[in-house]
């Protein structure tokens, strides 16, 4: 009996887990289920496993079990207190060599993208970056199902599905927020395996001198439940004040399309779209955004989209659940009032 292992890199910094890690455990479970039948027939075991590096992060390993991992390989050492490219990729490549996973998923965050290429090169295997769809599927000439990793390319204009026939693991980095969060199972059981480490500080080849936190608000638009986004139709940068008011009422954040960022109306972390952030809020309100393709690919997975534009032909309406043709300077204030009224009614 051999084990078919589906691996997920659990990304954490300063004890905070990046939610994409849990999303990936969910995906890994889904992929594992797709080969279940095949594995049962061959008498193989299918396992979803997490790999975690850090310092004093045992509780995170425990969380990983709750989010669906059967086992977590844990490297707990001060050397891993802060993410650094070299010690991380070398350690992960080594442990992958030891256990030979079939699939290895990493979040396509800045950290994950920094890391994934290193692991793949060290293992001399294939890596598909920035995926938005994953399936285990049959491919001609392959005895077992292969990972079919789909990613947007050429500015989101095409979707390419990539597979890796012979080399293992089949690696993918996966965008945050394209897959749903799996449920937290408080009764989940699993195993935490502490792995010995083989990297020294001398071999780390780097030294972090300091962390500079950005001044001003810390925008985390990717995980906001509500985004009120503005576009060129606002006319002036002050238009965002109004959007902010609505966002505050809804407990959300303000986003923007690229032209506004380019014009310096809002800072880059607010940008939604292909060249900015991919978001998947519960509610996305697009005000004065025309809806260029590059914007749409970043927000069309939102649960509910309300678009406001004076131009009835604006392409944003193609992805909106409700389109309001009209002046946002009339619509947004009305919305603020009605939200206030609804909240009062709730209270």
């Amino acid at each position: 009996m051999t084990a078919r292992r589906f691996w997920v890199f659990i990304e954490q910094e300063e004890g905070n887990v990046h939610p994409v890690s849990w999303e990936l455990l969910g995906v890994a479970r889904y992929l594992a289920s797709q080969v279940k039948e095949e594995a049962d027939a061959a008498g193989d075991e299918v396992l979803v496993e997490g790999v975690l590096l850090g310092h004093d992060v045992a509780s995170i390993a425990q969380d990983a079990l709750h989010y669906g991992a059967d086992r977590v390989y844990l490297f707990d050492d001060p050397l891993f207190a802060h993410y650094r490219n070299c010690p991380y990729y070398k350690t992960l490549a080594q442990v992958a060599k030891k256990y030979n996973p079939e699939v290895f998923l990493v979040g396509a965050t800045t950290l994950g993208r920094d890391l994934a290429g290193g692991i793949a090169t060290a293992l001399r295997t294939g890596l598909t970056a920035d995926c938005t769809q994953l399936e285990m599927g049959e491919a001609k000439g392959a005895k077992q199902k292969l990972l079919l990793a789909t990613r947007p390319a050429f500015g989101g204009n095409i979707l390419a599905t990539i597979m890796c026939r012979k080399h293992r693991p089949q690696m993918s980095s996966v965008r945050p927020r394209v897959f749903p969060m799996p449920p937290f199972d408080p009764d989940a059981q699993g195993e935490i395996v502490r792995e010995p480490m083989d990297v020294t500080e001398e071999g780390a080849m780097s030294c972090i001198l300091e962390f500079v936190h950005e001044k001003g608000e810390n925008v985390n638009i990717e995980y906001a439940d509500v985004i009120v986004a503005g576009g060129r139709g606002l006319g002036t940068p002050e238009g965002f004040d109004l959007l902010k008011e609505l966002a505050d009422e809804l407990g959300g954040v303000v986003g923007a399309s690229r032209p506004c960022i380019d014009a310096g109306w809002l800072s880059y972390p607010h940008q939604v779209g292909q060249s900015g952030r991919t978001v998947r809020p519960k509610l996305y309100i697009a005000a004065g955004i025309s809806g260029a393709l590059q914007h749409k690919v970043g927000m069309q997975n939102s649960d509910f989209i309300i678009a406001i534009n004076t131009d009835p032909n604006a392409p944003i309406f193609d992805v909106a659940d409700v389109g309001l043709v009209g002046d946002l300077y009339q619509v947004i204030p009305a919305m603020i009032e009605q939200i206030k009224a609804r909240k009062e009614a709730l209270a």
């Binding site: 006319g235 002036t236 238009g239 025309s290 260029a292 131009d311 032909n313 604006a314 300077y329």
Partner: protein, 114 residues
């Protein structure tokens, strides 16, 4: 020197005016390739006060790529990034109020087909 009365606005007959469809100019602009000069504009309004006094503001209409728009305060905004460098605004502004130079070498519109 241009005379303002040479540009006195005329009205199209109603039926013709109504026969003009609404066009979303951005849909056309996506077909045009630009090398946008992020550092400097090649188009600007010489004097906003002149535009404020201009009754008809024809630049809002005749520019083939809709470079000129009004903001909420009624001020003309110049989206030079969309300019195809045809020169119509320089020639057509009734008050010679548009500063028009060519973009820096290599920047600006780059027709793929022409």
């Amino acid at each position: 020197m241009k005379r303002k009365d040479a540009f006195a606005a005329k009205q199209l007959p109603d039926d013709l005016a109504e026969s003009l469809p609404d066009v979303y100019v951005d849909d056309l602009l996506v077909s045009i390739k630009y090398f946008v000069d992020e550092e400097q504009t090649h188009l600007s309004i010489k004097d906003d006060a002149v535009c404020a006094r201009c009754q008809d503001k024809p630049c809002l209409y005749f520019c083939p790529v809709g470079v000129y728009t009004l903001d909420n305060e009624g001020k003309i905004q110049v989206a030079y990034q969309a300019c195809v460098e045809c020169g119509s605004c320089r020639v057509g502004c009734p008050y010679d109020n548009i500063e028009w130079v060519l973009p820096r070498g290599g920047f600006g519109v780059a027709y793929k087909f022409g």
